[in-house]
Structure formats: structure tokens, C-alpha cells
Symmetry: C2
């Protein structure tokens, strides 16, 4: 049993390549949020169909000319930056309904790599045309700005994590974040499959893979989660959340 436990909605299988926003059950999580039928139809006509990627394939690479942003229709991605001096940092994991590629707007070239961590499908959204349309549809324009701003806020959260949290706190925050996002997509909040390796988790969290593995084991010993390879089940959500208590112990961990 490796597929995620489905709760209620959202059949993630994309039947054909051309699925319109108006028909898409992710629309409330994605770019079309808040559009009326007419405007949604205009957005539909702009979206350049889908693109399927096999696991391991790059959606784009750092340096590629920027033309489009992408909405994840199904599957799972990571983005990472690597510098000329050999450093490698995973900057995010993206799932259905989330937008990829906005890093490329500023320089007209992508500044990170986006890789599918499982077979995936994205919608292609040509950016120049999106700008034209968004100058005509105010709610689209505003929502685009919100999506970009949300990315900035998300990044601040990661900076907080990397700057102030200890290893186990980071992993707890990571699991809680995944849980919440799976839940928002109609999957179980308590049981899911990690699509990424310990090393990728470590890179994202600023830890080594051994540290991630040890933290997983520790959580399991303590009865917070059960974990077997990539399969995770959250057993004690309240205590997992309590791990994020302040480092100064002002609010001591409730034993």
C-alpha cells in the first residue's frame, strides 16, 4: 500500500492532457482562485496545455530562459539551487495546485532547478500572456500578486526554520507542513508517503541525511510517528506540534 490514503475528493489522475482550469478540482488552490466563469474561460484559453514528466525529469534548469510559470497538476516536485562552488540547497517541495518558476521573472532566466520526484504533470502558463491577461482582469492580477507574495512569506518561514530551529524541531515543522498541505488536497493528514530522500529532506532543512534519519528514529521511539522508509504516519499530532515550543523553554514541553 504505497499510494496516499485518499479521503474524499480530488481524483488526481488527469484524464487527458487538455484539462481546463474551469474543470480542474485544484482551481481553488491554484491561479484561477476567485475568477468568475467568463474570466476563467479566458485563463483557460491562455494555458498552453499540460506537460507530463517522468520521475527524475527536470521541468526546468537554472539558466534556462524564462518563458512560463507552471502549475502542478499532479505529482510532486523539488526545486534546488546549486552554486558554482558546489553547494546545493533544496529550496522547496511543490505539490498539486502550487506554482513553480516565479524565480525566473527577475532575470528572464530560471535561477533554480525543478525536478519531478514522481511522475507528474504541470500546466504551462506563458508569462507574457499572463501579464497581458492580468492587466485586463483585475482579480487575476491581484491573485498573481498574492501567489508571489505567499512565496515570499513561505521563504521567510524557511529562513526562520533554518535560522532558529534545532534538528528535531525542523523535522517536526517539516512533517506538520506536509501534513497540512496533504490535508488541504483531500488526502490524509496523518498518513502519507514522502516522495523525497533523506538527503533531499536534509538539504531542505539544512541538515545531513544521517541527522534526518536519526530524528525520524527518535520520533518513532517516542511514539510521535511511525515511519518505515518513505511511509510516515503521524501518531501524536499534539506532541509533535509541542516540539515547536520555544528554544528557551519558556513554554516547557508538556510531558
Amino acid at each position: 500500500m504505497h499510494a496516499n490514503v485518499k479521503q474524499n475528493v480530488v481524483p488526481l489522475i488527469t484524464p487527458g492532457l487538455k484539462v481546463a482550469c474551469s474543470q480542474c478540482n485544484l482551481r481553488e488552490l491554484c491561479l484561477p482562485f476567485g475568477l468568475d466563469d467568463t474570466d476563467m474561460a479566458r485563463l483557460d484559453s491562455l494555458i498552453g496545455g499540460g506537460r507530463k514528466l517522468k520521475r527524475g525529469q527536470h521541468l526546468y534548469r537554472a539558466g534556462d530562459p524564462f518563458e512560463s510559470i507552471f502549475a502542478v497538476r499532479s505529482g510532486f516536485f523539488k526545486t534546488d539551487v546549486l552554486t558554482e562552488d558546489g553547494r546545493d540547497q533544496v529550496t522547496g517541495f511543490q505539490m498539486a495546485g502550487e506554482i513553480l518558476g516565479m524565480d525566473g521573472i527577475s532575470t528572464e532566466h530560471h535561477t533554480c532547478n525543478a525536478v519531478a520526484l514522481e511522475d507528474s504533470e504541470v500546466c504551462l502558463i506563458p508569462f507574457t500572456e499572463l501579464e497581458v491577461l492580468s492587466s485586463e482582469i483585475h482579480s487575476l492580477q491581484h491573485h498573481l500578486h498574492k501567489v508571489m507574495s505567499r512565496e515570499i512569506v513561505r521563504d521567510h518561514g524557511v529562513m526562520m526554520l533554518l535560522g532558529t530551529m534545532r534538528a528535531e524541531e525542523r523535522l517536526a515543522a517539516f512533517l506538520l507542513n506536509l501534513s497540512q498541505r496533504f490535508s488541504a488536497r483531500g488526502y490524509s493528514h496523518a498518513e502519507f508517503h514522502l516522495r523525497m530522500t533523506r538527503e533531499e529532506i536534509g538539504s531542505y532543512l539544512g541538515l545531513k541525511l544521517e541527522t534526518v534519519s536519526r530524528a525520524f528514529s527518535r520520533f518513532q521511539e517516542e511514539g510521535l510517528i511511525s515511519v518505515q522508509q518513505k511511509h510516515v504516519r503521524i501518531l501524536d499530532l499534539p506532541r509533535l506540534k509541542a516540539l515547536l515550543a520555544p528554544p528557551d523553554g519558556r513554554i516547557a514541553r508538556p510531558a
Copy 2:
């Protein structure tokens, strides 16, 4: 001698409160970038004058309703996030020409605090009106998107720093970044004053203030910089840059 060493251009004194973009010598670094005279005049009319802040004053606080973004006209700011569990992370330092407040777009409320680190002045840019204008002026719209995207890319750089670098590498990267930004504003790239405390630097870099202080001392011992309180002079730029060599030693530090 505490004022920054001025090199050539940019008199940073703002004579009156109402300085138009078209007259501003920061316009090439700021929002009006790339606008022609007509469009610049329209942007002028939108900008709600300036606001002066004394050192230590908040420009906005987390939770404040979002109405405007701000362009730093003069002075120096920090932004920081603090969570209910008592963590505190400086997410950035902003200087003349840089844009503040875009974090607030996504939730209609600011998600971080912005504090003046010296007496400062900002231009107020009402966001709703900016959206209206940018839907009419394509180059303004596009530049706004670039500014937001640049913030995302900058955040990725900080994530890289926090995720992969050691203490001295972080400080070197920080000094080089400041140097480059001062230089872009017509100040010396080699000599400047830090507006922030060791603790604020530490928070930004994910280090304790003692570690920051020790790293400064070490750099000075090694002849890379001279540092006295908040006054820094870069003595050996190449070797400072070489500190950012890869952690795996593939390119060994040139002795």
C-alpha cells in the same frame, strides 16, 4: 568619521518630503526603473509622499493591515519575523532604493516587522492604486513582477547561506553582499558602517552574537578586514571571496 565614504554620485539628503520619482536619483534602482517620462509622471502622482522615521521606529508591524508598499528613500531598515513561540529571525536589511512590505500582499496583513536602524525616509506606494496603474502601464507591471521575483531569488540565496554555510562563510557572504549594495549606490565598496548590532547580524545569519563577534575578530587577525565596532574596512577582497569556496575543499583555499 562615522558617515559612509561617498564616492561620486547620489546625495542622499532628501530636501523636502515630496520628491518625485522623476527627480530621484534612486529611480534606476527602484520601482520606476525603465519608465519613460510620461509614465514616470503618472507614478509620481500616485506616490503618497514620504514618511520620516527616527532610528528604532517601526515602519509597520506584523499584523498591521496591508495598504502600501514602501521604497526606502534614505536610511536603513531591518525586517524580522517573530513567532508566537518566541523565535525571532531577521529576514533582511533594506537600504535606499529597495522595496519593503511585499510580504503583506498575500494575507492583506503584514507578516513581519520593519524597523528603521537609522533615521530614515520612505516613499509610500499605495498598493491598490499601484495595481491599477500597473495594469495600464505594462512596463511598470512587469517591473513590479521583477521586483517581487527578485525578492524570492534573494530569499533563496539566504536559504542557501543558512542551509549550507559555516559561520565564517556566512559572515563573509554578508559583508560581500553589503559591499556590493553600497557600491551600487555610489558608496565605497571597501569601507562602510554597519547599522545593525552583532545580535541582528547573528539573527540574520542564523548565528549567536558571540559567534559573529569571533568571526569578525578572526577576519581582522587574518588581515581580511579591519573592524572597529560598527566600522568595517575590507582589506583583502579576493581572499574574502575565496572564503566562499566549497565546503568539500574541492577548490582548496588558496593560501
